[in-house]
Symmetry: C2
Subunit: 330 residues, 2 copies
């Protein structure tokens, strides 16, 4: 059993298709880590299959995820971020509008009872209520974690840009610890659909290795005048280049990935026109970070910092800002 | 039985998911018409299920489609256009490169034997071998039919633009009867995937009627500066506008349709910059033609001609150009 003095926080990054739990000790150290395919979608399916109330199914999933931590550390705060706070989650945590100070000590967390005298807290998402609104849940906590893990010398006044690639990529501008605006690109989800279910999928021959040549070829197309047209027009080339013998079937997937990530980056960079891009940090898994870093380089953006697994550090920062640690045990 | 003198041509428009057969009489009149869910995909499935050779399955499908016509008119030419001439079809009809004179009397049709001393001919597709190549099969014949059905006063020297909306929209420039270039937009297929299988589909509440307000709202977004970004970025608004109470769930589908058709039109019109758009003809079903006509109007393109079912007239024109009619019976 972990020393009780080390257990300061049980942090959860609870998303749509996966859930991660972290037992955190002094100085935000990660003492233990667990993950399970217990995203809110799977929990909902289980509730249906086992005729449980959704509430009961989430309770069970939490116990499964945290194993003995809940019993062993009955006083330790439990805080989650992510889609667990959505309408389809356990309990809804509303969105905070931008500009959203991620470490504001006065903001309220949603909560749900998980035992007698014990609640799990949920960090609200962030909403950018522009003409085409944008929402995030979980990414705000990853961003806060990245800020905490970043240079302590960071100038609070300087604008920073954060990219969180994935099913729905988020690009957020941040000043100090405040999210000032953000946009979503459905790149990952659209890539998944086009590469497995569209006519383009018929020609894809899977391989174990990434063809960076094919990937960069796609990025370059999106950067070129061909990329003036929407992806709906350029993407058909993932078929016709094969039909005309100019692309191998083993290259289709990476070519399409490059086209799409290139179109996303082009769209986002376009918003800066001729002004200098703020310092850019990517928070994502290794594979996606490598793809975006390569693609950004094609666009001339070479100074990119990549961080992974920043969510628990973000949950820690929220707990700290809200004074949730028992000062006696710190 | 139709008078033998009236049977000049059996024309087939044989696509991926459906097939249509036309018995044509003097002056390209349509004497009878049949359609069936016997596209090349369904025929391939049937071949597998019934352990038939693909050749045998296509033979059966042709007989099913044409019923007694093949027996009743043993001398009448049988000519098909469409995906039946693709690698996945019955026999491959290669592509003709642009500029492709659709009524060139010297070009060769592919053919396959369908009875003793009888062959079915297949019109080749068209290929535009630019940096991002484009291919069409069947649309070239619809375009030729539209030209034949169009004003006889058409100035052969004037460039025309043809739009064939659908799973993969085609936009072709035509001079006289020659296709000079074209582009493909995967609009229909991408709309199908996003509106039934992506996160956007969760909020869609189906209705019987079209919400033209929601549709035009989407078109206007794509036309506005928001549309500078790729559809992957604007499409997430089909979710967030509902979450923020600014779009009804019954409007999501038409809003998304407008966004996508708008992005397609914006991309295509962009190629003309400030020059005047050529005269535009839409060849498509009534519903899609109505959507594109509305969307084009938002972009200031108000003079649009819409034609339907032009394929048989195109097959007729090819047969005529190639001298395939028995002059004795005309």
């Amino acid at each position: 059993m972990t020393n009780i003095a080390e257990a300061q926080l049980i942090a959860l990054d609870w998303g749509t298709t996966s859930a991660r739990a972290y037992l955190m000790g002094n100085d935000a150290s990660i003492v233990a880590e667990r993950s399970a395919a217990l995203g809110i979608m799977q929990v909902a399916t289980r509730a249906k299959e086992q005729s449980l109330t959704l509430n009961k199914a989430f309770e069970q999933a939490l116990v499964e995820l945290c194993d003995n931590w809940l019993e062993d550390y009955p006083q330790t705060p439990v805080i989650a971020c992510g889609m667990i706070g959505s309408q389809q989650g356990w309990v809804e945590a509303t969105y905070r509008p931008v500009p959203a100070d991620l470490a504001d000590p006065t903001f309220e967390l949603a909560s749900v009872q998980i035992a007698e005298n014990r609640r799990m807290y949920i960090i609200p998402g962030v909403l950018d209520l522009k003409e085409l609104p944008d929402v995030m849940r979980g990414e705000e906590t990853q961003i806060l974690g990245a800020i905490e893990l970043g240079d302590t010398a960071t100038d609070d006044a300087a604008e920073q840009l954060f990219l969180l690639p994935g099913t729905h990529s988020k690009w957020a501008t941040v000043q100090g610890r405040t999210i000032t605006g953000f946009s979503t690109s459905m790149t990952g989800e659209t890539f998944g659909l086009l590469s497995t279910q569209s006519i383009l999928s018929k020609l894809i021959k899977p391989t174990d290795s990434v063809s960076w040549d094919a990937f960069e070829r796609g990025v370059n197309i999106s950067k070129s005048s061909n990329g003036d047209a929407d992806l709906m027009l350029t993407s058909f080339s993932a078929r016709t280049l094969v039909l005309t013998g100019r692309l191998e079937r083993t290259e289709v997937s990476d070519y399409l990935s490059g086209l799409m990530i290139g179109a996303e980056i082009r769209s986002v960079l376009g918003a800066w026109h001729d002004s200098a891009l703020p310092a850019l940090t990517i928070c994502g898994n290794e594979e996606l970070s490598a793809r975006y870093t390569r693609a950004l380089k094609v666009f001339g953006v070479t100074e990119v910092r990549a961080l992974q697994g920043t969510a628990p550090r973000g949950v820690w920062a929220v707990a700290s800002a809200l004074g949730m640690f028992q000062t006696t045990s710190v």
